[in-house]
Amino acid sequence: MLSAVISMEPHLDDLPRSNEDLLSVGAAHASDLQALCNDVTAMIFPSAMAPPTEETISAVTRKLVALVTDIEARLLGHDPQVSTANPQTWPLLAQSGFLRQADLIDYMLARVAEDRLEEKLATSTRHLPAQLLNHPDPNVAEAAQTLLAADSLYRRARGYSYQALRPELLHQLCWRLVAAIEVDNGKRDIAVIASVRALLSEYDEGRTAQAAALKLSHFLGNERRSDLLDPNTAGLHLFVAHIANELEIDQDHVFQLIDIGSSAPFVIMLRAVGIDAERAMAIIYLFKTFALTPRDIGLFDRGFAKLEQDIAKAEVRRWAYARGQFLMFPHSGKSGT
């Protein structure tokens, strides 16, 4: 957060001596200015972040293709493992604008963020859900088991991506696909409709990693709650679910706030949860390793303690409200700010 603030100090006190020094100061200023702009944007307009990078757009597209392929394969009885081309219904869905729908894209952006954040965690140390398998509260034990299963490679493997979708989105996507298949084939296919009904009736929101993590966070007593704020111990889903639960915001929003370029929203979010500065710094360092500089850390030391928890909490809720408005009324012009 406020990443550029500290960086200016040595330059002001020791005026540059040569043109090379001047130019390097100029370059540093330019990047600091950009960082400040990003910070201001992140703090004031969290739902209108800087436009996604090419890399993000490409990752979202890949995930969308995989999702549509998986559902289509399931409805048409194809093997998703052997399909390589874009799905049959892709052109129709794309033309209809459905694939640009705000809530679908938001979900995909959260998944891309999730993938990026997962990469930063040490896979060998996530032992909390496994330890909770024998918890005396059956709800905790069951949720831990579900979380481990949902997090497993099998659930993330090709062919099953739709199982992690939110029910509202899965329902919508399935019936859109049915319509697209009918248009494409020029006739109604009873078997496809039966497949959709079967798919939807088999679905269980409680089996998704997000719901299981939220349930764990909901049921877990005080004895292990502090572990939930250690991402390496709790795992990403539990960590995010705990923050979401504490701040009463959506888990996908938390994923996105952690992942965006500026660390400002993450810092404010951690302050809102009430984590002490030392622990917060460790968590930020974990997720933002390559983006952090000694200047960030110095600034964090100065600014974190000054930020009041209630104000940070109110700010996060304001972001959540703005995001909710945007997802509800994506075309209302200024609601995206």
């Binding site: 406020l2 540059p16 100061v25 304001r318 200024k334």
Partner: protein, 449 residues
């Protein structure tokens, strides 16, 4: 923090497609009744009703945390729902109660209600000072029959502080602003402020009272940080400091004090300085924006001489105008128009208007600042010889972030929005019209006394 434990046996219930609660375990049925529901009627617990409706709509198995407001506490339930035989059946796995909202059983209903109150409320009165609307938690203290009642009766119902009620009602009758006034009740302290409301044409339309229910601690510590001031009070100062340094250093580079550098590098340095200046302006705008959007935002009542303000602004912007060969024409020393407003806010509005006029006028033209006294108050107008504002854009131009399609000129789209909010906070108005020569003419009206 939640207290309570996982239920030994889940609590079950079922909701038909028309929303009726068709079966329920005892605890759920009692909760439904406490929420105002009747036997066999529509489920009166909004969170659960919404989950049931979604289950009917999607026909899928759902699993969610649901928050429910009970009489004196909030509940957090973990609910699993599934559609079975046309009934959305749910199973409540946990029933966690928050710390009770209401303090003790012996406190009366009025005190309980006061304890539940938080934040700001507003009361709107019509031109006859009869209550027409109540927003926020103050509505809990009023009955339906109170609407249409005289202000004095409505206020008496809220606070018994007769002396202060007299002051408030006098301000309403005299159609003047009321600064924050603390009134005591037997259960709380209320800060009441108010201001007359006007139509777009400036006609009196009624009076609005803003109420804040506060604890003693808040009253004695008014400077305590309030949510919503994160940017202006805490972050803006932190941002301004490095931006100042960026500007200073970039200017040093651009001025080539240490010998010549490549021309494009010098230009880059100027770009950096300009970008930083733009960001400083944006930070200032956002700080102001945050302030003016606070419910309790108010301004001081200074005696201001508008001709003096106009000449000061012209002096401040003379160099900027000269860069574009623009002349700012101000009222003479002999012309004097008094107004009652906060001096620095009037200066801020006028700086914004004249900056805009200079920015959007062709080089070599003139910007006129005129002052006048009318029956409706004191007027200050800024006219330019630019392209003007089309009639269909005259309201839009005062909207937040509205740039009328412009970009890259250093504006944030907040200046006019903030200026209008400031003008209204001072009991005035800011509008735009067409100048004689077709340019834009911004009219700031302020109270004369």
């Amino acid at each position: 923090m939640m207290t309570g434990a996982t239920l030994a046996q889940p609590i079950k219930g079922g909701v038909a497609s028309d929303g009726r609660l068709v079966f329920a375990d005892d605890a759920l049925r009692r909760l439904h009744h406490r929420a105002g529901g009747v036997e066999g009627g529509v489920l009166a617990i909004p969170g659960l009703a919404a989950l049931a409706a979604l289950t009917h709509q999607l026909k899928m198995r759902l699993s969610r945390a649901v928050k429910v407001a009970d009489v004196d506490e909030d509940l957090e339930l973990w609910v699993e729902a599934v559609l079975e035989g046309g009934i959305a059946s749910f199973s409540i796995q946990s029933w966690r109660a928050s710390v009770p909202r209401i303090m003790s059983p012996e406190t009366g209903l009025k005190e309980q209600r006061f304890n539940a109150l938080a934040g700001f409320s507003t009361l709107d009165f019509d031109t006859g000072l009869r209550l027409i609307s109540a927003n926020g938690n103050v509505a809990m203290l009023l009955d339906r029959s109170d609407f249409g009642e005289a202000a004095v009766d409505v206020l008496t119902k809220i606070t018994k502080d007769g002396e202060q009620i007299g002051v408030i009602v006098n301000a309403m009758l005299e159609r003047r602003d009321l600064a924050s006034l603390a009134t005591k009740t037997d259960a709380a302290t209320i800060l009441i402020s108010g201001k007359p409301t006007h139509s777009d044409e400036g006609a009196f339309t009624g009076y609005r009272c803003s109420l804040q229910f506060v604890t003693e601690q808040v009253v004695s510590e008014p400077a305590a940080a309030s949510p919503g001031f994160l940017f202006g009070r805490q972050l803006a100062p932190v941002l301004r400091q490095p931006l100042g340094r960026i500007i200073a250093n970039a200017e040093t580079i651009g001025s080539e004090l240490n010998g010549p550098i490549r021309e494009n590098y010098a230009l880059y340095a100027k770009d950096i300085a300009n970008a930083a200046r733009h960001l400083v302006a944006l930070v200032d705008d956002l700080g102001d924006l945050e302030a003016v959007e606070q419910v309790d935002f108010s301004t001081a009542k200074d005696k201001v001489e508008l001709g003096d303000v106009a000449r000061r602004v012209a002096g401040l912007l003379a160099l900027k105008a000269a860069d574009h060969s623009i002349r700012i024409v101000t009222p003479t020393e002999a012309e004097k128009v008094p107004a009652v407003a906060e001096f620095r806010r009037v200066l801020q509005i006028l700086l914004n208007l004249v900056t805009n006029a200079v920015r959007y006028s062709p080089d070599g033209t003139e910007v006129f600042i005129d002052i006048a006294t009318t029956d409706d108050g004191s007027l200050l107008t800024v006219s330019d010889q630019g392209a003007g504002v089309a009639p269909e854009d005259r309201e839009r131009v005062f909207e937040k972030f509205e740039r009328l399609g412009r970009s890259g000129d250093g504006g944030s789209g907040l200046g006019l929005y903030i200026s209008r909010r400031l003008a209204r906070a001072m009991g005035g108005e800011l509008t735009v019209d067409t100048a004689v020569n077709g340019g834009a003419k911004f009219i700031l009206r302020l109270p004369s006394q």
